[in-house]
């Protein structure tokens, strides 16, 4: 065979090309502000995303206040309520979670974990952040324009999104669509970088099947985003044209405010197809990085290799692929051709197979592990429970006949908050506890961390679990107030009050976390380079926090997979990926 010598024990193929020449910043401005270093860009992404995420959090409080105590707060009217849910949903899904997982964690972890000095095109990567920031600013500006932000719901369905009955019809919707277009452009610049870095810039010895699952999750999610965002892009452009130029791509002829509108002949369903062709993969764009990260958290903090690594990789890829053929399960009640529903219900249930497989593998990784209940591990466990919960209600909603009565009720709100709200946020928090020491060189406070976990985890259940029940009662979603309806018992109202009180409490409890972040930056215990005794490359950098170029003079060489924990016969209970095999005895590791 002409193959390059490839051997598990010794022969790592020679470097295929010379080391990269990095751009070296010469001033404070190019070092910290217009930085081309992926680590700085990652922090910029994370801070921006968290800032706008806090806005969405405050909006959720306002919504809860209204739902819990209708009629009490004169500063919230029906229009504003709609604007709040729209901005809350859109910010949480796109500007917070997508940006944080891919722009934040992706930028920080990919180069470090694959053993690269930086992303492949740092300048483009920098532009990506600045365009993202612009998108966020445009979005935030809608709070201050005449008419306020759009109230069309985060799905932005036409025709109502651009008709005059909907709040934010003048400016809100236009700026929202522009902001989305900007976001997609910015994301594409970053996303191309992540994908090419993973595919083409790995260090010697780092095969794809030795990548930590975190990288697999982020990588697959990025590929998906590059293929799914185009649909949202096109939908946004077309709706912008409908709104600004008066085209009728999505607008049927209809009567608006008593008058025949200027529109006619368009198809609202077309938008729904475009939106959900993006929207469903989007769920997994948020979920797959979480899957990947949680696998690494569990393995590290249970001191055990991940169970079924290859299966996990293929499951990630399979979920990514399948998620492009299930989109219309969001449209069972939209009036599309009914038999489509059967096809999409089938594919939706099929996707449960690789997903369930991942859950089993996490549990099997934990089984008889040496579980350390550190904050990252607690959050990882919280994720598994929440995700299983949300996944089970997903099986309900994936079936046409069950979905029809449940559609547009609080049951749906409960479902998606469990599965793509709480679960990924759990992972984000766990990941912050896990990687904060690498980013800052200091540990987060453990006691505050555990307190934060229990409040958040129990609180999230108290908030969202009762919503399933409300949904089964038939309480509709996106309603400003319930009023007097015969089918809604008084207990529903007290339940709503209860949820609101918990939501506010949990919300304020996050201040503990913010305090922890700020306080530990200066006062936290110094962490050293590898506080969790983890195997992956980012913990093996010569400096902590890693310096410009990540690796000092020599790039690391990878000899083993990312999960050599508790290898029988080894001196320590972990073997870093870049540790060469010493004797024949210590090769417990597969790939």
């Amino acid at each position: 065979m002409v193959d390059v010598p490839y051997d598990r024990i010794a022969g790592i193929p020679p470097a295929e090309a010379p080391d990269v020449e990095l751009y070296h910043p010469k001033s404070w401005l190019t070092r910290y502000v217009f930085s081309q270093d992926a680590k700085v860009i990652a922090i910029q992404y994370s801070l921006t995303a968290s800032a706008i995420g806090l806005v969405a959090l405050v909006l959720s409080w306002l919504m809860r206040l209204q739902l819990g105590f209708p009629g009490t707060f004169s500063f919230i009217d029906a229009n504003q309520y709609l604007q709040f849910i729209t901005m809350h949903g859109m910010i949480m899904v796109i500007y917070l979670l997508t940006a944080l997982f891919l722009g934040g964690f992706g930028n920080y972890l990919i180069p470090l974990m694959v053993g690269a000095r930086d992303m492949v095109f740092p300048y483009v990567n920098m532009l990506s952040y600045w365009i993202y920031l612009l998108a966020v600013l445009v979005l935030a500006s809608t709070f201050f324009v005449p008419g306020g932000p759009t109230g069309a719901g985060w799905t932005l369905y036409p025709p109502q999104a651009i008709l005059s009955g909907t709040p934010g019809q003048d400016w809100g919707i236009v700026l929202m669509l522009s902001s989305l277009i900007l976001f997609i452009i910015g994301f594409t610049m970053g996303g191309l970088n992540y994908v090419v870095t993973v595919l083409q810039a790995r260090t010697r010895g780092m095969t794809l099947m030795r990548l930590p699952l975190t990288v697999w999750g982020i990588f697959t999610a990025t590929v998906m985003a590059l293929l799914a965002f185009p649909a949202l892009f096109v939908g946004s452009v077309m709706m912008l044209l409908d709104r600004l130029l008066g085209t009728s791509f999505f607008m049927p002829s209809l009567v608006e405010m008593g008058q025949l509108s200027k529109y006619g002949g368009g198809s609202p369903l077309l938008f729904q197809h475009l939106f959900w062709f993006f929207g469903h993969p989007e769920v997994y764009i948020v979920a797959l990085p979480a899957f990947g990260i949680v696998s690494d958290l569990i393995s590290t903090h249970a001191r055990k290799n991940i169970f079924g690594y290859r299966m996990m990789v293929w499951a990630i890829v399979a979920i990514g692929a399948l998620s492009f053929v299930v989109w219309a399960h969001h449209m069972y009640v939209s009036g599309m051709y009914p038999y489509f529903g059967y096809f999409f219900a089938t594919t939706t249930l099929i996707i449960a197979i690789p997903t369930a497989l991942k859950v089993y593998n996490w549990v099997l990784t934990l089984w008889r592990g040496n579980i350390h209940l550190t904050p990252p591990m607690l959050f990882a466990l919280g994720f598994i429970v929440t995700f299983v919960n949300g996944g089970l209600t997903g099986l309900f909603l994936g079936n046409v006949v069950v979905d029809v009565p449940l559609s547009d009720t609080m049951f749906v709100v409960a479902h998606f908050h469990m599965v793509m709200g709480v679960a990924p946020i759990m992972v984000v928090l766990g990941a912050i506890y896990h990687w904060y020491p690498k980013v800052t060189g200091r540990m987060l406070n453990d006691v505050l961390g555990k307190f934060h976990f229990w409040v958040t985890f129990l609180g999230a259940y108290l908030i969202f679990f009762p919503m399933h029940y409300l949904g089964l009662l038939g309480v509709p979603r996106r309603y400003f107030e319930l009023g007097e309806a015969a089918f809604i018992p008084p207990s529903a109202h007290s339940l709503n009050e209860f949820i609101t009180v918990v939501a506010l409490t949990v919300g304020f409890a996050q201040m503990v976390f913010l305090f922890n972040l700020a306080w530990s930056l200066f006062e936290g215990a110094p962490s050293g380079g590898n506080p969790w005794r983890a195997t992956t490359l980012e913990w093996q950098t010569p400096e902590t926090p890693p310096g410009h170029g990540n690796w000092g003079k020599e790039l690391p060489i990878v000899y083993r997979w990312a999960y050599d924990y508790s290898v029988p016969g080894a001196a320590e209970d972990f073997i870093p990926q870049n540790q060469p095999p010493t004797t024949g005895a210590v090769q417990g590791a597969t790939p």
Binding site: V120, L208, P230, G235, K262
Partner: protein, 240 residues
């Protein structure tokens, strides 16, 4: 990690043939696409993403066209010109297509000369390509003007379904933007080639990375893609 400089260097060459070779490459370390530089890989992946954008545009247009209840204007008539007293359907579009396809030819030649490090010819051929592109865009502008004079608007037109004008302006506009960006890129790169940047490995202004003649090929990939997309627009919008 290594900045992969040129295509076809390094130990990646001479691997197993066919699928087994692909599997071996993907199972290996460092690079999944052996002998493909970062820039080239990035352009391919970008083009894949862009394919999805154009597909969405075209599918949306087809949906509109198939579902409208008002008759769709006949493209051969709408895009006909009176030349020398003769009424010739689609003549302008035919010329435009011809121009754009020719530009792909000159682009391919530019890539060839680029790899031979023939500075002058490469630059000239790139400029010729850019000129073809600019011609295409001007003819597009002429067509837009003509239709607008005849009363076609994004929201209505004299002959039938309003979505005709909407889709026309949107799709050709989006494609024309791509061509325009390509022309700008071609001119910028041609200038660098002309100046000899790639012979001395001069660093780029923004990235401070060295440039290589391969950038000509990468620009070429984009250009051929834009050309290919036009073939689909031509088939689905004008010929249907």
């Amino acid at each position: 990690m290594a900045e992969t400089i040129l295509t076809n260097t390094g130990p990646g060459a001479g691997r197993l043939p066919g699928w087994r070779g692909i599997a071996a490459d993907w199972a290996s370390d460092q690079r999944a696409f052996k002998n493909v530089s970062w820039g080239k890989a990035m352009m391919w992946i970008f083009l894949l993403s862009d394919t999805f954008i154009f597909s969405c545009f075209l599918l949306s247009y087809m949906t509109a066209r198939m579902s409208t209840t008002v008759p769709w204007p006949n493209p051969s008539e709408v895009f006909a010109l009176n030349l020398g007293g003769k009424h010739i359907p689609l003549i302008l579009i035919a010329i435009m297509t011809f121009v754009l396809i020719s530009s792909s030819g000159t682009m391919a030649m530019a890539v060839n000369f680029g790899y031979r490090r023939d500075r002058v010819r490469t630059a000239i051929l790139m400029l010729v390509t850019a000129a073809f592109g600019a011609t295409f865009v001007s003819m597009q502008a002429f067509e837009w003007t003509k239709l607008i004079m005849e009363g076609v608007r994004p929201w209505s037109n004299p002959w039938g379904a309003a979505q005709f004008g909407s889709s026309f302006f949107m799709i050709t506009g989006f494609h024309g933007t791509h061509v325009t960006i390509g022309v700008i890129f071609l001119i910028a790169i041609a200038r660098k080639v002309w100046r000899g940047d790639f012979d001395v490995g001069r660093r780029g202004f923004f990235t401070s990375r060295r440039g290589y003649y391969e950038i000509v090929e990468i620009t070429g990939l984009y250009w051929h893609f834009v050309d290919l997309v036009w073939v689909f627009i031509f088939a689905f919008f004008y010929l249907w």
